[in-house]
């Protein structure tokens, strides 16, 4: 705000070069703080929230947690330290941006606000040694969760987790693609979980099963292959590069059979030559937490990537049975009956493909209220705000939904 620009100062300090203060005692301090706050403000949390009458939902949740508590105690006696009572409510707490971490922050919020995920996370086995602890992603996530929920700060810094991730080649100060980072993060969590039961649970929570069909158009021989996916990568343009109008259209387009002809032809074992094939995909199973990736980018002559920001509305409630045809699914009635979703979170991107900003809109599962997480700033919003991420053909820099996370309405 100075009228005369002062000479530019470029302080070179040790810690800053690494993007954070270098504190000799940081590690230990940090841990003790977490524990301390976890215990103390856990108490506070309980008594100090008079305005929040516990809803049925929350009570149930509490009981659930108690059960878990017992379970955990019996299972793993090393846990009590990190287990707080505070996280009865998945409160909305910000995460400081510690250097291009808006993408990470948004994804972390999506993970940590998902009570189905945190339920799994809480049961992890704590690594025995400090060094292992430091590099254990699920453990660091859990610590972060504790930190977020125990204090009454409006935001906490995910520095430890970020440091931990950087040891797994997820670097700070780099712009990440949210979809990629999501996969990376998820895989790290899964890989570092020791308990196979939890791994299964985690996989069940996120994995989409599809069956790929390849049918030779000449001899009608068919090849099937089951595959699992973590996200449904939906195109936003149809095969003729026309903009698709709604999410449902994108889904239909995704599951639309594709003819492989010309140089796309495949080798058919029975015909013993390259033949045209019909490639189709059938949906077998949908998980509790369904992640949809909108491929809002377009390669222009394979060099330039630019972002597609046209309007693409997505519904609050999504019933796959209404979207897909009989041929496009391969599932039992009971499975299909459960294919009814409501939106849980939106990871939105603003800016261009080169530089931009991520934020997350999440509908708290306990309070049923929408929050917008912009790093350390969190505010309560409404569905109208979320609708703003539909996109706008006039705005190239506005927010557009990139990842959509839907939650099954009636968990199985």
């Amino acid at each position: 705000m100075c009228a005369v620009p002062a000479p530019r100062v470029r302080p070179r300090l040790r810690g800053v070069a690494e993007g954070r203060p270098r504190l000799q005692t940081r590690e230990s301090f940090c841990h003790s703080t977490v524990l301390l706050m976890g215990q103390r403000s856990g108490r506070q949390e309980r008594s100090k929230k008079p305005e929040m009458s516990l809803s049925e939902n929350m009570k149930a949740e509490e009981e659930d947690d108690r059960e878990e508590n017992k379970e955990l105690k019996t299972k793993d006696q090393r846990l009590p330290l990190v287990f707080g009572v505070a996280d009865l409510k998945n409160g909305a707490v910000g995460l400081y941006n510690i250097g291009q971490t808006c993408c990470l922050n948004s994804l972390l919020q999506v993970f940590l606000m998902n009570i189905h995920f945190t339920r799994i996370l809480r049961r992890i086995t704590v690594p025995p040694y400090a060094s292992l602890k430091r590099n254990n992603v699920p453990y660091q996530m859990l610590l972060l969760l504790e930190k977020m929920q125990s204090g009454k700060q409006k935001a906490v810094s995910p520095i430890d987790l970020a440091m931990c991730l950087s040891t797994h080649r997820v670097n700070m100060f780099i712009q990440h693609d949210a979809a990629q980072l999501f996969l990376t993060l998820w895989n790290l969590v899964k890989r570092q979980m020791k308990d196979q039961d939890l791994v299964t649970k985690l996989s069940d929570l996120y994995t989409i099963c599809v069956q790929e069909h390849l049918a030779c158009q000449i001899c009608s021989s068919e090849m099937k292959r089951n595959s699992n996916m973590l996200t449904l990568p939906l195109p936003v343009l149809d095969s003729n590069s026309h903009m698709l109008k709604t999410l449902e259209d994108c889904l239909q387009c995704f599951f639309h059979p594709e003819e492989l002809t010309g140089h796309n032809m495949c080798f058919c074992e029975y015909c013993d030559k390259k033949t045209p094939f019909l490639q189709s995909m059938k949906l077998v199973h949908l998980p509790q937490t369904l992640t949809i990736h909108l491929k809002r980018f377009c390669f222009e002559r394979s060099t330039n990537v630019y972002k597609l920001s046209h309007c693409l509305p997505f519904p609050q409630e999504l019933d796959f049975n209404a979207v897909l045809t009989e041929q496009q699914s391969q599932a039992h009635g009971s499975e299909k009956a459960a294919w009814r979703y409501e939106i849980f979170a939106v990871v939105a991107h603003s800016g261009s493909t080169n530089s931009g900003h991520y934020c997350a809109y999440i509908r708290s599962l306990t309070e049923c209220k929408w929050y917008c997480f912009n790093d350390s700033t969190v505010c309560q919003v409404s569905w109208d705000d979320v609708k703003c991420t539909y996109g706008h053909s006039d705005l190239n820099w506005g927010q557009t939904a990139y990842l959509l996370i839907y939650m099954k309405k009636h968990p199985q």
Partner: protein, 1070 residues
């Protein structure tokens, strides 16, 4: 302090929350209370940063302050307790937080935040309760939502500014320490003091970095929220634009902009503030930066995004507030006429501008004209640029108002007239759409851009009203259906209109013209007419079917617009008040009226006549099915001279019944006519009866007559009822004028005293008396004329007085009825004689007239009989056609017929009524001449038109005199035919009487007659006036204040002293 005070002022429910908050908190409320101001002034958030010395400092300051306060407390009882509490609190705090001052800072920060939250809740609740009190109109949810978001946005903006200022402070502090303590190059790592300094510097930088990120995150959030808000505003604006479009079509909607303007301005202000803030952030970064500086990476991105937002907001905020329209057709905007002035106005809803920067707005017509062959090009003649005006009053806003624009077509060399010449395009002129584009060079706060907005497409016509009507149809169609408000090629392939949408738009047309839309029944009828079936929501109507094709020779729209024009000109009030049923199909009409009393009528629009309105009434004959009758539609031509309510009031039907009567008794469903229409009757001049008037008032009434063989077809005539003798001047008696007019008059005459019906008694009475006036001339004069004349005379008391002898023949009247029966034969006779078709009528009339006259020389009863002549007329059916033929070039034949019969009576009265003839259309003339004699008729026959002309007409009467010679002969001829003794007798009498009369007549010359009439009329008037006075008691309408007495001067008529003034007693009419 302020915050704590506000907290204390909270309502109980919220205060309870505060108590609970502190009940559980480590900080006792006593401490909060006693150090309120200090606590609120500190930056606890900053102190919560790990390792910050700030927290420790604050904690100790607090303890010190508590000590201070303890010391200052007195010894009172209250103080004692407080002292105790405070001391205890101090001890507890020290014990709990001595080691963890950051936790304490955290605790306080959270408490303060919690307080603020409760405050917000409380205040929001308070506002919610207080809101209904003020008289602000209830706002829609969306409006409230926008208001709320705007308020939130501004609060968040303020917070961001606060955070920014905090950041500034931090940066200044860091900058200072850095310059003082950081000494690179020297190896002072050994110096523990230096190490400590660098560590603190490091912490400060860390803190600064965090604060920067914090501010950036806040800005991100703000921008995100503003996007939603802008989205909302855009939706509202879109809704407004739709409203404006509808309002252009006549829909009654609110198109005010002030609310939108306030919102747009508020958001614009906020965004510009944010822009300033971002720039200031950039400056901060100029002063201090470091690796991974969030400002460096994020600010440019944020600014790009913000600029885009602002551009988008401003672009949409530039709107056409007033679509182009000509001032003289305000209800039909978007139709412009070359060389006529029109105006249009644009407004920038974001009311932010730099007073030092003039903003120029310009307009262009058809900047990107469609590449259609023959698309006309226009120039805007007047200046096409203007400075954007920023009115001083905040209400005016930023507008550019183009008031006096005119268009001129570009002449394209080689294409002749340019318009639709050799290179005629595929589109009609009225389907060619043009656009005016406004551009504005906007500059504010370093943001410069070109704003643009377009009017809705309009049609440019060059001349007639016809074009205006079809141009308006185009505008309706476009605005109703075009998905793209700028599509100039719309009419290349105009889409069909869904019926529900069209129905709504049509209804608006009526609403905007006459303040009453179309009801469901109306629309139903229209739909059936258009779609030929019951409308379903899916029914559609094509453009050509709407505006071009039409079985009746005109399109649906032309028909509807004709009705709109009629409403606008004449029937606004009736329509508005729902007296016009309007759109009723014949089928429906019958259904409605069937069950109603005889005389129940409804008013509806004609389906066969452009811009016509008619009424239909029901009659229930004693046997048979109910009959429905409708009158030939009135158009604006007729209504211009006589308003519909007056027509209804005075409407007369001449029919086979004896008495002309008004068949319109009850307005559907069952409102008595006068009750329904009296508020709309034109004002009568009521004057004192004693006052002498120079003139009688005149009054127009409408009459229909109907003939038996015509079944239910009704005819209609225009009766010029004399109200004002002046008009009639030529006529010795006002009645005379009436006679010429038409049968109506005749009716009147016939029924006059006897009937005395309210209908038009005035006229009748006059007639009755007029003979008296004529008396001067002497019965003799009259006699020659013809039987008809005689009758009249007979009817008039004057005649009676004078010459009973004369009348005597008439007195035999009672026997006459048989004569009527004779008539058929008479017809043949006449036809033979005259060769014309009218004769029959004459005959009919005569017989009856005579009979009547004779019978009731002085008696009204007899007179009444006359009207009954209709029966005769019916017989004449065949002849009717003949008449019509004659009339072909003239008015409506039927009228002629009717006139004749009755008119004769009248004519007779006005022996010299030639003047009358002039007045009347040719037909009338004929009638007059025809009155009595076949001879007359013959003359008439061929040259109707000649008769019509004033001059000739005047002369005609004289021939009549000549004809009289013929007439007796004619009568003689008739006599045998009649076969009836009575008739013969009658004829004889007539002959006798005629002789003297004839002489008189002969003496008269056209030249003489006329002048005499001029002067003489006055006298007659005078007498009439007198007689009118007599009549008054009976007829409230008759006497007119204007009827003043004229001095009795000598005249053709008065000279004859034979006639004493007329005396008519009321009893005479009984």
């Amino acid at each position: 302090m302020a915050q704590w005070q506000e907290v204390q002022n909270l309502a109980n429910t919220h205060l309870e929350q505060v108590h609970q908050l502190y009940a559980a908190a480590a900080l006792p409320m006593a401490v909060r209370q006693c150090l309120a101001a200090w606590i609120e002034d500190q930056d606890w958030l900053q102190a919560t940063e790990p390792l910050s010395s700030h927290a420790r400092m604050l904690f100790h300051s607090l303890l010190a302050l508590l000590d201070e306060r303890l010391g200052s407390l007195g010894l009172g009882d209250e103080d004692f307790m407080l002292k105790h509490n405070l001391r205890k609190a101090r001890r507890d705090l020290q014990a709990a937080f001595e080691e963890y001052p950051e936790s304490f800072a955290n605790l306080v920060a959270n408490l303060l935040q919690e307080e603020r939250r409760i405050l917000r809740l409380g205040q929001a609740g308070g506002q919610g309760e207080a809101a209904p009190a003020p008289s602000t109109p209830p706002k829609s949810d969306r409006e409230q939502e926008i208001q709320r978001r705007l308020a939130e946005f501004h609060t968040a903006l303020q917070e961001a500014e606060r955070a920014f200022r905090h950041l500034e402070d931090l940066q200044d502090a860091f900058d200072f320490c850095y310059k003082v303590h950081y000494l690179p190059g020297q190896d002072q790592t050994k110096d523990p003091e230096y190490t400590r300094q660098v560590q603190s510097l490091q912490a400060k930088l860390q803190n600064l970095d965090r604060q920067r990120r914090e501010v950036v995150a806040q800005m991100q959030q703000l921008l995100g929220r503003s996007e939603t808000l802008r989205d909302f505003l855009q939706q509202e604006l879109k809704a407004w634009q739709e409203r404006q479009q509808r309002s252009c079509l006549g829909a009654p909607v609110d198109t005010r902009l002030h609310q939108l303007e306030a919102w747009f301005t508020a958001l614009g202000e906020g965004l510009f503030q944010l822009l300033q803030l971002l720039r200031a952030l950039g400056e901060l970064q100029q002063k201090v930066t470091y690796e991974r500086d969030p400002l460096q990476a994020e600010t440019p991105l944020l600014e790009t995004r913000l600029r885009e937002q602002l551009t988008c907001l401003l672009q949409s905020a530039f709107v056409v507030e007033q679509q182009p329209s000509m001032p003289n057709t305000p209800k039909r905007p978007l139709v412009l006429r070359t060389a006529s002035k029109f105006c249009t106005r644009a407004r920038l809803l974001v009311r932010l501008h730099d007073r030092n920067h003039r903003m120029e707005a310009a307009i262009h017509i058809d900047r990107d004209p469609p590449k259609t062959r023959g698309f006309r090009k226009f120039n805007i003649l007047t200046s096409s640029s203007k400075t954007l005006l920023a009115g001083d009053s905040p209400r005016e806003g930023l507008i550019c108002d183009f008031q006096y624009l005119t268009l001129k077509e570009q002449k394209i060399s080689g294409s002749g007239k340019g318009s639709k010449g050799p290179n005629e395009g595929p589109l009609a002129v009225t389907e060619e759409l043009h656009l005016i584009t406004f551009t504005l060079a906007y500059a504010y706060c370093g943001l410069e851009m070109q704003l643009e907005t377009s009017t809705l497409p309009f049609v440019i016509i060059s001349n007639s009203n016809h074009q205006l009507s079809s141009a308006w149809a185009s505008i309706l169609w476009f605005n109703m259906l075009s998905p793209n408000p700028k599509d100039q090629q719309f009419f290349a392939t105009p889409p069909p209109a869904p019926w529900p949408r069209l129905a709504e738009v049509l209804s608006w047309q009526f609403e905007s013209v006459a303040e009453r839309g179309l009801s469901r029944e109306h629309l139903h009828m229209l739909a059936e007419k258009l779609l030929g079936s019951k409308p379903s929501p899916e029914s559609v109507l094509s453009w050509s079917k709407f505006s071009k094709d039409g079985a009746a020779g005109f399109s649906f729209w032309a028909w509807l617009d004709g009705i709109l024009g009629l409403l606008q000109e004449h029937l606004k009030k009736l329509w508005k008040d729902g007296l016009i049923l309007g759109f009723v199909s014949r089928k429906q009409e019958k259904k409605l009226l069937k069950g109603k009393r005889t005389g129940t009528f409804l008013i509806r629009f004609s389906e066969s006549v452009l811009g016509g309105v008619t009424f239909t009434w029901v009659e229930h004959p004693e046997s048979g099915r109910p009959a429905f009758r409708a009158v030939v539609p009135y158009t604006t031509v007729e209504l211009a001279s006589l308003a519909l309510p007056d027509i209804i009031r005075d409407y007369q039907l001449l029919a086979e019944e004896n008495i002309p009567e008004n068949p319109l008794l009850f307005l559907y469903p069952d409102t008595p006519r006068d009750e329904a229409f009296s508020p709309y009757y034109s004002q009568r001049q009521e004057g004192s009866l004693t006052e002498k008037k120079e003139y009688l008032n005149q009054r127009l009434i409408r009459v229909s007559s109907r003939q038996a063989n015509e079944s239910w077809q009704t005819e209609e005539e225009l009766v010029v009822a004399t109200e004002n003798l002046e008009t009639l001047q030529l006529q010795p008696s006002g009645l005379g004028s009436l006679q010429p007019t038409s049968p109506g008059t005749g009716t009147v005459v016939a029924g006059s005293p006897g009937t005395l019906q309210p209908v038009s008694p005035g006229t009748l009475q006059v007639v009755a008396r007029s003979p008296g006036t004529q008396h001067p001339r002497g019965p003799g004069t009259l006699q020659p004329v013809s039987p008809g004349v005689l009758q009249v005379v007979a009817g008039s008391p004057g005649a009676q007085h004078q010459r009973p002898g004369m009348l005597q023949p008439g007195s035999r009247g009672p026997e006459t009825p048989p004569l009527v029966q004779v008539s058929p034969g008479g017809l043949e006779m006449l036809q033979a004689g005259t060769g014309a078709r009218e004769p029959q009528l004459v005959l009919q009339l005569i017989p009856e007239g005579q009979g009547t006259l004779q019978v009731g020389p002085g008696s009204l009863g007899t007179l009444q009989v006359l009207p009954g002549g209709t029966g005769m007329l019916q017989q004449g059916g065949a002849g009717d056609r003949g008449t019509q033929q004659v009339a072909a070039g003239a008015l409506e034949p039927q009228m002629l017929l009717q006139l004749i019969p009755e008119g004769q009576g009248m004519l007779q009265v006005g022996a010299g009524d030639l003047g009358m003839l002039q007045v009347l259309p040719g037909a009338v003339g004929t009638l007059q001449s025809a009155p009595r004699t076949a001879g007359m008729l013959q003359q008439v026959g061929a040259g109707d038109q000649g008769l019509l002309q004033p001059g000739p007409g005047a002369a005609e009467p004289l021939p009549v005199a000549d004809d009289q010679g013929l007439l007796p002969a004619g009568l003689g001829d008739l006599g045998p035919m009649l076969q009836g003794q009575d008739m013969q007798e009658l004829l004889q009498f007539l002959e006798q009487d005629l002789e003297p009369g004839t002489g008189t007549l002969e003496t008269l010359e056209a030249a003489e007659l006329m002048p005499n009439m001029d002067s003489g009329l006055g006298q007659m008037d005078a007498r009439l006036g007198g007689s009118a006075a007599l009549l008054d008691p009976r007829d409230p309408f008759l006497p007119q204040p204007e009827d003043t007495a004229l001095p009795a001067t000598s005249s053709l008529f008065t000279v004859d002293a034979d006639f004493p003034p007329l005396h008519i007693d009321a009893s005479d009419f009984q």
